[in-house]
């Protein structure tokens, strides 16, 4: 089994999907000749040619809009947005069209596209290369939103997203693109194109990233890694056993796993990098209180980015929830 990092895991998924189903194509700015600024699509041009691996004009609405049209014809486009913040020119196409095509065609034609968005900070990038816009997509009905945290999961989720009939916003936590390696079984978990049910399952389930029972931390993306480290710190310093639940699916949320874990542990925090107000943390927190408040020993805490623009990168470590901030947030809940 090859040991891959997340970039390679994603690349493998694209390669396997394209090999299995000639309806799959990849399109975006600089995805073909360079293999994308993060090299996720490296090598695909040579293997599948210009008709299926397409360097587009600099035109996000055009890219997503054209992908919707292709999907209407029956192709399965996987679109790359170069960086988080550059998705906004395509926002209208995503929320007004991709999200509503199934609804507007009485279920006949979902916009079966995958929109890959490398997101978040931590890579010392200039302004507007570090945002976390996922909550905006979560709030818009008609989209699925997922976020992998390990190379193996990245491969499996991307294949599932391509197999899945509904449009999927595929958030890629760029900070951990290359930080860890996994054994990734070569065999793809899903065979295109008849695996819808299975894909839907895979795309809607949270996973336990670290077991524990005194408190649970809910997170997704690169802060899952920080949560695991914060949990270790709590273990070392206070003997607290903290569970980390990786949400994986941001819409729909795996409510049962979330409320189950909160009930079992009695104490919980939600951690994300995006700004706090009206972020996913608010949704997770409300869900837990609404459903299992009586099982809680303390209100659910939130450790998140601040309600400010992502800072210039010299200060990004002040912005991104650090291990210390996460631990402090957990302690507040533990000491309630």
């Amino acid at each position: 089994m090859p040991r891959l990092n997340m970039v390679e895991g994603l690349n493998l998924a694209l390669d396997q999907a394209m090999a299995q189903d000639d309806r799959v194509l990849v399109m975006g700015e600089d995805v073909a000749r360079t293999g994308g600024v993060f090299r996720v699509t490296a090598g695909l041009l040579d293997k599948y040619g210009e008709e299926r691996v397409i360097d587009t004009p600099l035109s996000e609405a055009g890219i997503v809009g054209a992908a919707i049209g292709m999907a209407l014809y029956g192709l399965l486009p996987v679109v790359e947005i170069q960086f988080d913040t550059f998705v906004y020119p395509a926002f209208e196409q995503i929320v007004v069209h991709a999200a509503r095509y199934a609804w507007r065609t009485r279920g006949e034609v979902p916009a079966s596209i995958v929109i890959r968005i490398p997101f978040g900070g931590g890579v010392r990038a200039p302004e507007l290369h570090s945002d976390s816009p996922e909550a905006l997509f979560v709030h818009v009905p008609g989209l699925k939103v997922v976020c992998p945290t390990t190379p193996a999961l990245a491969r499996d989720l991307l294949l599932a997203a391509i197999s899945h009939p509904d449009p999927v916003i595929f958030m890629e936590p760029k900070r951990i693109y290359r930080t860890g390696r996994d054994e990734v079984p070569e065999k793809a978990p899903l065979l295109l194109p008849e695996a819808d049910g299975e894909a839907t399952q895979l795309l809607s389930r949270a996973r336990v990233a670290r077991p524990g029972e005194d408190l649970v931390m809910f997170s997704y993306g690169s802060t899952v890694v920080s949560c695991c480290e914060a949990a270790q710190k709590l273990q070392d310093e206070r003997g607290v056993s903290a569970r980390v639940v990786d949400l994986v699916s941001l819409y729909p949320l795996d409510v049962e796993s979330i409320t189950g874990a909160a009930s079992e542990c009695g104490r919980a925090i939600v951690v994300h990098e995006a700004p706090r107000t009206a972020g996913l943390g608010a949704e997770v927190s409300s869900l837990i209180h609404e459903r299992v408040m009586l099982d809680l020993e303390a209100p659910v805490g939130r450790v998140t980015g601040f309600d400010v623009p992502f800072p210039q990168f010299a200060n990004e470590d002040d912005y991104i929830p650090s291990i210390d901030r996460i631990a402090a947030g957990a302690v507040k809940v533990l000491d309630f």
Partner: protein
């Protein structure tokens, strides 16, 4: 500024030209029939709206040539991408007129939305210019597959100001997609005259920015609209890429049933354009050609009336949609939990009586009692 291409004369000063040779007499009559169906639909929809049986409706009275002409130039396997203005174009492709009326009545689901792949007609697009990239993407996909299928899409004069128009034009020209962008320059975008929309004297010159061929035709002339589209489609099918067509006409009616054009233009001008409307003009032309006699014409009108009357009856017989309609089809993969929970919540509440699909009442203009918007 060159005169737009015209085939049909006015029977007085302007000469007739022969119909395009590719068109048989049967074709010519078929096109007449399409115009009549469109007109009948439109007039009926306006009156239904006045009676409060439809919501706000975007009429197209006088623009039928820009719908039927291009459509008849297409193969049946080509795709159409209409806006709210070409809302009933699907009827000419076999979509039930009742479905489109139901859309304007505010019905969703299978009542108000049609099957797009079956008819190769994309859903009615409301937000301006945003469907253009879809038409480009679809035809690009067809080209990749080598299927010889083209996309025909409509847009208004106002739509040329949107970013999506530009991005679609650029993609189409860069990838030489088999797309026809048919721009109905009816000179108005709600209350905004085209002269405040763009600094160019014509819209067709916009295609220079994309090295795209452009054609300019009389939008009241169904044969001119046909001919330009045919030429564009032939080029597209030959692998030579997209064409932009500007069809010059005038929005004779209001923008929509809630709009009052007296607020912003001299209605005497629109009265003058009324004389150019495409149906009567084409009929006179066919009669001068001897291709249509009065009996035939009145049969066609009767048939159209019957068709639309049946559609109205069918629409009115539709069950008022249940609450499930809110949650159906949102996801092709089934209802995620929040939708199931929403449906349960809604089912637990006693439902209020059926909502009347109220548009503004007869003759109403926006005022205190009427919070209805103008836009379509």
């Amino acid at each position: 500024m060159e005169e737009p291409l015209r085939i049909i004369g006015d029977g007085v000063g302007q000469p007739d030209w022969a119909p395009p040779v590719e068109l048989t007499e049967k074709d010519l009559v078929a096109m007449y029939r399409s115009l009549v169906i469109l007109r009948t639909f439109d007039e009926r929809a306006v009156s239904l709206q006045r009676q409060g049986r439809l919501g706000t409706y975007a009429l197209y009275w006088g623009e039928e040539a820009t719908h039927a002409g291009p459509l008849h130039a297409c193969n049946d396997s080509d795709w159409l991408f209409p806006t709210y203005r070409q809302n009933s174009i699907g009827v000419l492709r076999g979509v039930k007129a009742a479905t489109i009326l139901a859309w304007w009545r505010g019905y969703g689901g299978a009542h108000g939305f049609y099957q797009v792949r079956e008819h190769r007609v994309a859903p009615i697009c409301v937000p301006i210019a945003t469907h253009l990239p879809h038409a480009v993407g679809l035809s690009w996909a067809a080209k990749k597959r080598g299927d010889g299928i083209c996309a025909l899409t409509w847009l208004g004069d106002g739509a040329t100001s949107e970013g999506d128009f530009h991005e679609a034009m650029n993609f189409a020209s860069v990838y030489k997609t088999p797309t026809v962008l048919f721009c109905v320059n009816n000179q108005w975008a709600i209350s905004t005259h085209v002269s405040r929309q763009t600094a160019t004297p014509t819209l067709v010159e916009k295609c220079v920015a994309y090295a795209m061929p452009g054609l300019r035709v009389d939008g009241f002339d169904v044969l001119a609209c046909w001919k330009a589209t045919k030429e564009a489609l032939d080029r597209a099918r030959a692998g030579d890429g997209p064409t932009f067509i500007e069809a010059v006409c005038y929005r004779i009616g209001a923008h929509g049933t809630a709009d009052d054009p007296r607020l912003y233009r001299d209605e005497a001008e629109s009265e003058r354009y009324r004389a150019l409307e495409p149906l009567g003009r084409y009929r006179a032309y066919l009669q001068r050609l001897g291709a249509l006699d009065d009996d035939q014409a009145s049969d066609i009108h009767d048939e159209a009336k019957a068709l639309i009357a049946a559609a109205v009856a069918e629409m009115e017989a539709l069950d008022f949609p249940g609450v499930e309609i809110l949650f159906d089809y949102v996801y092709a993969s089934g209802r995620p939990d929040p939708l199931t929970e929403g449906l349960d919540e809604l089912r637990s509440i006693e439902r209020r009586p059926e909502v009347k699909p109220l548009g503004p009442q007869p003759g109403a203009s926006p005022g205190d009692a009427d919070p209805l918007p103008e836009g379509a």
